[in-house]
Every structure is written in structure tokens, then in C-alpha cells.
Symmetry: C2
Subunit: 351 residues, 2 copies
């Protein structure tokens, strides 16, 4: 096992002091000749500076901590890509932790991030870490909370969120425009974002003369509960003599499960039931699923910038969702491809 060269080895090799080497590396006042000798020694010894030691002196590391609830969602994926983009542009790295929706992990991983003295922390969870994140903010670590309502962001933290009420409104207007009236909702629970989306949906539907009763909203915490939730909505519609003609899913995480539950029952989309869900994803085009898209990449970019730029006061950013109309609500507009996929030219080459 070969020992790594230290700044002292470089100094000895170049015949200067460690202070001079440090100055060459970080751009202090040095002679051209000295700098050349030092750089030659750096190359000869394959010296790689120790970022940990630098971090000790600077009081913080150069990495951006990101704690994600659920790495499997395309929303979070694009978010991370945005953060990583900013990190790479600032000689920084993303330190990633996935909580798998477990509170104990979340606490442990945010703590580890704190121990690592991350230059900033971006959290998409923040359910059990308010105390710690508040303290980190006090200690000068910019903390950004994502996808939680502005209203309940912990003090001292920046907040990046979606206009969830608007997301619900877009769904309502679109479904009504497609002639649907008996609407059921699959929601993932008590998170503020979920509540706001449902509230926005309900208010807009009411404005359109389509009330959304409490029991038309079913909660499914996990994918396993989706099937039962869909059943309950179907039964409810049948019992009232208003057969369900639309299902709204308020979280991208459950899109696959809701879609599977529908098709497993032989339900045609949009023939029997219209379907709208949250968050755009690569396969949505192929499946013709209409979605409410979040600008996730841009949100990641902004989150990264808040960490790097360290604005003085807490910043609150609310992004606006957009409706991507495909065919799952029976609309007759042109198809909208998932951004990033290639253009699909018409070809005369059908065999």
C-alpha cells in the first residue's frame, strides 16, 4: 500500500516550505520559477490535496448534502440532476442519502450530514429533523426544504415548493373540460402537499358545480393499499348510481400502482375512466397518460443555487405546475412527448 504524498512531501521535493506550496495551489503571491518547481513536484509525486483537511480549516466541507425520501421517483431523479449540475459547476459533490420513507433513517442521515459539515443541506423530507435543521441553519449551513408547503417550513430554512393548489385546479378544469363529472381521488396521505392538491381540486370542482365529497378521496400510504382504494372508489360510484368516470392520483409515486389497478380490472383508459396523475415521466408518452408536471430539474437547480449563493434571509420559492395533456382523459389534442425523448418522425416504413 503506497502512502499518499502530503503537502510536506511536495514542499520537500520542490525545496520550499509547505506555506509556499499552499500559496501555489490556492493562488497566492509566488514567483513564476517557484510555482513551476512546485507544480513539477505535484505532478512527480501525483499529489492530490486532502479535501477533508481543507474542510477542517474552512469549517465546512465542499459537498452538498441531499436527503431524499424515495429515490425511485422520477421527480427526485430530475431534482438530483439539477442539484448535481450546480455542484459540478462549483467543484462540489452531492452527498446523497435515501431514507426509504423511514423516519429513523432520516434522523440518522441528517445527523451524519451535519457531522460531515456539508456546505448546505437539501431535504425533501424534514418530518423528524426540524430541530437539527434549525440548528444547522443557525450554524451557518444553508438548508433547503423541498416539496413541503411554505407554510410549515421550519424557521431559518429556504423553501422550494410547488403551487399544489394550482396543480389541483388544473386537474379539475381539465377533467371538467373532458366532460367528466364523477371523480375519485387516490391520495398518499397527510403530507401538506397532498392535502393542498386535494383542496385545490375540490375548490375548483366546486366552482364548476361538481362537488367532491370527503369519501371520494381515498388514502393509500403504500402501493399495496392502492388496489383497495381503487375498489372503494368504484364501489362508491356504483352504489350511488354515478359510476366513476375519472380517477385523480395526487402523487407520482403511486402512478404505476393506480394504473395497474385500473388495467387489472379491465377498465379502459379513457374509455371507461379518465386518469390524471402528478409528475411527468418518460413512459407517460407511450402510455398516453395526462399529467401535472413539476419543473423538477429547475427546482434542483434553484436548490443548489441557494446552497452555493447563501442569500441572507430565508428564501421562499413557489414553482408553477403545468398540465401535459395526452390521451388518458379522452382529450383530442395532439400528443405531447416527454421532454428529452427524441422527436418521433412519421415513417412510411411500416412493414
Amino acid at each position: 500500500m503506497v502512502k499518499r504524498a502530503t503537502i510536506g512531501d511536495v514542499a520537500a521535493d520542490a525545496g520550499v516550505s509547505t506555506a509556499t506550496v499552499s500559496r501555489v495551489l490556492n493562488g497566492g503571491a509566488v514567483t513564476e520559477a517557484t510555482a513551476t518547481r512546485v507544480w513539477e513536484a505535484v505532478a512527480r509525486l501525483e499529489y492530490t490535496p486532502n479535501a477533508l483537511t481543507r474542510g477542517v480549516f474552512a469549517g465546512r466541507s465542499s459537498t452538498i448534502g441531499v436527503v431524499i425520501r424515495d429515490l425511485s421517483s422520477p421527480f427526485y431523479l430530475d431534482l438530483i440532476r439539477g442539484i448535481d449540475e450546480v455542484a459540478a459547476a462549483n467543484d462540489s459533490l452531492v452527498m446523497l442519502a435515501n431514507t426509504f420513507r423511514r423516519v429513523d433513517r432520516e434522523v440518522a442521515q441528517v445527523r451524519t450530514m451535519d457531522e460531515q459539515r456539508v456546505r448546505g443541506l437539501i431535504v425533501t423530507t424534514g418530518e423528524a429533523t426540524d430541530g437539527r435543521t434549525r440548528r444547522m441553519a443557525e450554524n451557518g449551513t444553508p438548508c433547503v426544504i423541498i416539496a413541503r408547503s411554505v407554510l410549515d417550513a421550519p424557521p431559518g430554512m429556504h423553501s422550494i415548493s410547488l403551487d399544489n393548489v394550482e396543480a389541483g385546479r388544473l386537474m379539475a378544469v381539465h377533467l371538467a373540460g373532458c366532460g367528466r363529472s364523477s371523480i375519485g381521488v387516490v391520495s398518499s396521505g397527510r403530507r401538506t402537499s397532498q392535502i393542498e392538491r386535494t383542496a385545490g381540486l375540490r375548490r375548483a370542482l366546486a366552482d364548476l358545480g361538481l362537488p367532491l365529497p370527503e369519501d371520494a378521496v381515498m388514502v393509500a400510504e403504500t402501493e399495496d393499499e392502492v388496489s383497495g382504494a381503487v375498489d372503494a372508489l368504484l364501489i362508491r360510484g356504483r352504489d350511488r348510481g354515478e359510476p366513476l368516470d375519472a380517477i385523480v392520483c395526487t402523487t407520482g409515486r403511486l402512478t404505476v400502482a393506480v394504473h395497474a389497478a385500473l388495467t387489472a380490472r379491465g377498465i379502459a383508459i379513457p374509455g371507461d375512466i379518465a386518469f390524471v396523475t402528478m409528475d411527468d415521466f418518460p413512459w407517460a408518452t407511450a402510455l398516453g397518460i395526462t399529467v401535472i408536471a413539476q419543473p423538477s430539474y429547475q427546482m434542483g437547480l434553484k436548490a443548489g443555487e441557494l446552497v452555493v449563493d447563501r442569500p441572507s434571509g430565508p428564501v421562499e420559492l413557489v414553482f408553477t405546475p403545468t398540465l401535459v395533456a395526452r390521451t388518458s382523459c379522452g382529450e383530442r389534442q395532439g400528443l405531447i412527448p416527454y421532454p428529452g425523448s427524441s422527436a418521433l418522425p412519421e415513417s412510411p416504413l411500416v412493414p
Copy 2:
């Protein structure tokens, strides 16, 4: 901005030396009474030890570096989840970098990982970093290369890969079993994994009396090139009087694009053309796409273990792919759901 408590502050508060605090924190010989006083001081001052300083002394940090070529692939996602699992179980964190398939980023990010003195490095790329990873291995940092052939793994590195020849063979046998004979391949280029998959496919097809000519394999580096590649395969089949009846995609990254190119031309799957591709994904069930699955989560787990357990010699692990038969090749077997999605019970509640 509140200054963080240091070990010195804790020592002063508890009326002991820093050495004693360190012993309490790391489990040395101390009196019960002293330990209590120290822990009280830790709680009172909300002391969070500085992992950077610890890392300086230990010679390395406690984080696992992961450099990913393309974060959008579900394969890499599951891989990261596996690594993160091991990391979390070892009070470690994953330091993630996405290269976006750009070599300059890869070099910069592996370098940054080295500077961060990661306790181990897991790379899925390794195209331009052989020199550095070799040196890191010499310096005692376990380096794992994933998804590259064992044959060309850089010296000193562990290697985790898939039996790509077997993956190709599985595709060949399955397509032949479904009665397909005019097969076209969309490959993503010159990576060893791609070459091996194609070679395995070709050899197995030849054994079945179905030669795969060179020009039946089209390379598409990016999603934008897929459409043209599919066109070329269709033209080739038409010109020879052997209309294409199957398309193989040797990389999961291009699955969406190939599927989109097919459907955009009005081609029915499997009616007109059968379709097999690499890597299972959540929507594959809904779309009925037959795939060759890699045990990506297990591969991540193993990669993490190699970093944590630091075996002496270089380890080479080859995982076996499995065929997940759905409907895209015209097979008449039962549907196989994507693991992790809920069971889909038959329901009498179709409206």
C-alpha cells in the same frame, strides 16, 4: 451565526480534558461518573463531532463514492439503493456524482472523490480514469467497477458485472422459441457490455440456424439516433424480402426510444414485430415488455460490501441475468409483474 461546539468546549464544560471526551465518545476506559458528565455536556452544548477532522486522522472519510454515467436509468437507481443500504448499515453515506456521459466530468468527479478521501469508490464508467483508480487502489481505497467486462477491468480494482453473453443467449433462445427469425439489433455502441451481448445473441442464434449479419446490428449512441437505426433495420428487412419480425435492444437506456420509434410507425408489438430489451423497469408490466433483468440491487449490495469489507485481492463477481417473459414477443405465458409492485387481484368491480 452560532459557532459550533468543539470537543474542547465539551471538555471545558465537563471539567475534563479533550482526551477524555474523545475516549467517552469512542469507547475508551472511563469512569461511569466521568462518562455521565461528558454526555451531559455533549447534550447541553448540542455537540456534533466533526467527521472531517476524524477523517483527517483516520486517513480517509467515512463516505462511499459512487460515480454514475447516467442517473436516469432504473438499473443505476436500484444499484444506488443497494449501495446506500450497505452505507446506512455502516454509518456511512453515499457521495454521488453523475457524469451525464461526459468524459471531462468523469475525470473531474473521480478526482474530487479522491480528494475527499472516500473510503471506497464505485464506478460504473471508468473510461478515462484508469490511471487515477489504479493509484487510488494502490493507496488503499477499494475501487469497484460495475457493468464493465471482467476482461478490461483496470488492475487492482474489484469488478462486478453481468454475464452479458448469457443475456444475449437468453434473448436468442426466447425469440426463436416465439417463432421469430428476422431479427434486428439496436445497440448503444462500443462498450464491452454491448459487444458481449450482441456476440452472445449472435452465437446462440447461429446455433439455432439463424445467422445475425453485421448489418442487422445498428448502433445508436443517443436517443436521437434510435429512430434512424430502426428505420435502417426496417429498410434492410424489406429490401431482402425478409421483413423484420423482432427487434432486440441491448441497453435499457434506449428502451423508451426504441419503443417510441416502433409505435410512432404504427408497428404493433408483438403483432408486427417482437421486442426484447435489457433491464426490468416499473412500467414494463403495464406495457407487457419482455426484458432481460439484471439483479441490480444485489449488485449494489455486493459493491457496497466490497468497499466496507476490503478483501485483500481483487474480487471478480459475475451476476447471471434472467429473462422476464411478458407479452412483447408474442409469448403466451402468464404475466410477470415488476418486483415490488403490489399484487393485482382480480376484481368483479369493472364499471
